[in-house]
Symmetry: D2
Subunit: 161 residues, 4 copies
């Protein structure tokens, strides 16, 4: 069964370091066979989509508006929702796990939403909070985060004798 | 630019003839390079996705629930929305045009929604109403409907000297 | 327990006769202790809210946009949703029953949505279709429709000896 | 013009002190003529609704589910949305300002959402973060928070000569 990982993080205000992490995350997610889900716009979203594309992977962008032309060009597919910021919840609902990059309030808002609805989260380059919500794993780098994600989403071994 | 066409119609209560039309529609849409969007479940949705798959095309199913395992197996990608029947509006919003098959009330409801929001509709095997909403083209068969869709979604010729 | 009835019908394109029916419906609904729910804009929505106000009743308008100032002035309370046409589904979800006035495609779309989700509908001045969806009661006038609604929403008699 | 203030905070896991603050907030909001909007369930939501009721005010609860019977009993009116956690965004959209009580992750998630969409927030009894998002005013107590809210929502004085 195909697995979907949402990459969330700042849009146009993303730092170069966040963009690098997002592109690397996209690449490694695609390498591991995950479909990348994003909010469909620029910054971290676009970089993750571009990373997935680097490895021949697929990204799906769930756009806040009704106009597909606002989507980041690197996304393989886009879905216009017209829901505005409410589409953040759709991004989380569409994902088996969330890969958070950077520490903006918007990103924290989505992390909290994921944690509340039982979607596991790995976070890279977030704020050094000591009290992330349960279900959020703060990681040192993309490689570590990816390793945890793969572990989290590994299908259970078949039970047998 | 990629174009998306929503195929809408009855789910498990679809007739054999509707399923045949949906599969043919999916095939021809994929042949013409369209991405097929559906409500992600069985019946006409699944048949259209299967048709797209027959031709190596792509389908995206926008599910009413939160559980991706309820999706029709032929869908290439699925997006869990948790919106229930409200996801019908998302299916219409995600599409550049709607391909309606069959005459259920549910299908008419979505046709009306598309017509109200300016998304063009072609309809096959619907009820013989004389007063479909403006923007809805009632067609005799899938081939005719497809031809009209292609015409509708053709990019405007470049203006020249 | 308070009961909510959604009054649905055309907005600015409503006919005088539809507006009269909506105002009368609003009055009688308020008289019977129902809270009137609408889509918050003009036409039938505003007339129903005004009718409820005539009798000291309450109306709640669920607006498609984010700006409460677009609401019809007669509504007692308004809720901005920013969902566009998707708020039609919220109007139906918020109601114990639907009172439909007039025969526009938009109205039929909402009637169909209500019927699919098990919310009972009474309809006045709709199109003379012979095949309304199950769960829709086509009535000759507002008085009849109201009588049916009251019957539908009457709490079951307590079982006992 | 009527003004709406959303009171947000923990549900059943609210502390006694948070419940006291919520009830006082509800009372003072009603006293000042505000309509109280909540997420419709227990804890802080129910306490704020009860406080509004103490002063003859009105509260509207926007429920996550489809069943109105899950609403806290003190709410004057309830709107079933069926949107699950996505209804948090509706609560914020329906409000002219947000009154946050307590420091759960859920509450922070909604604060961040409000801040991102330009809805002013006052916060009482939240975590002692030093870096709340812009647009959030952390207050020592309900009285102070209310005073700030009134100031924020005061209509601008008419310009004159």
């Amino acid at each position: 069964m195909m697995r979907y990982v949402a990459v969330i993080g700042p849009g146009t205000e993303a730092t170069d370091s966040e963009l690098d992490s997002a592109r690397e995350a996209g690449r490694r997610l695609a390498d591991n066979g995950f479909v990348v889900v994003t909010g469909g716009l620029g910054g971290v979203m676009e970089a993750a989509a571009a990373g997935a594309g680097d490895e021949g992977g697929v990204s799906i962008g769930l756009l806040p508006g009704l106009d597909r032309s606002e989507a980041g060009a690197a996304h393989t597919y886009t879905v216009s929702t017209g829901l505005g910021e409410m589409r953040n919840a759709l991004v989380v609902r569409a994902a088996d796990a969330v890969f958070a990059i950077g520490g903006s309030w918007g990103t924290l808002s989505e992390i909290a939403l994921a944690a509340r609805t039982g979607v596991p989260v790995v976070s890279v380059a977030g704020w050094p909070l000591h009290d992330y919500p349960e279900g959020v794993l703060v990681c040192d780098n993309v490689v570590d985060a990816l390793r945890h994600l793969v572990e989290l989403l590994r299908p259970p071994a078949p039970r047998g004798r």
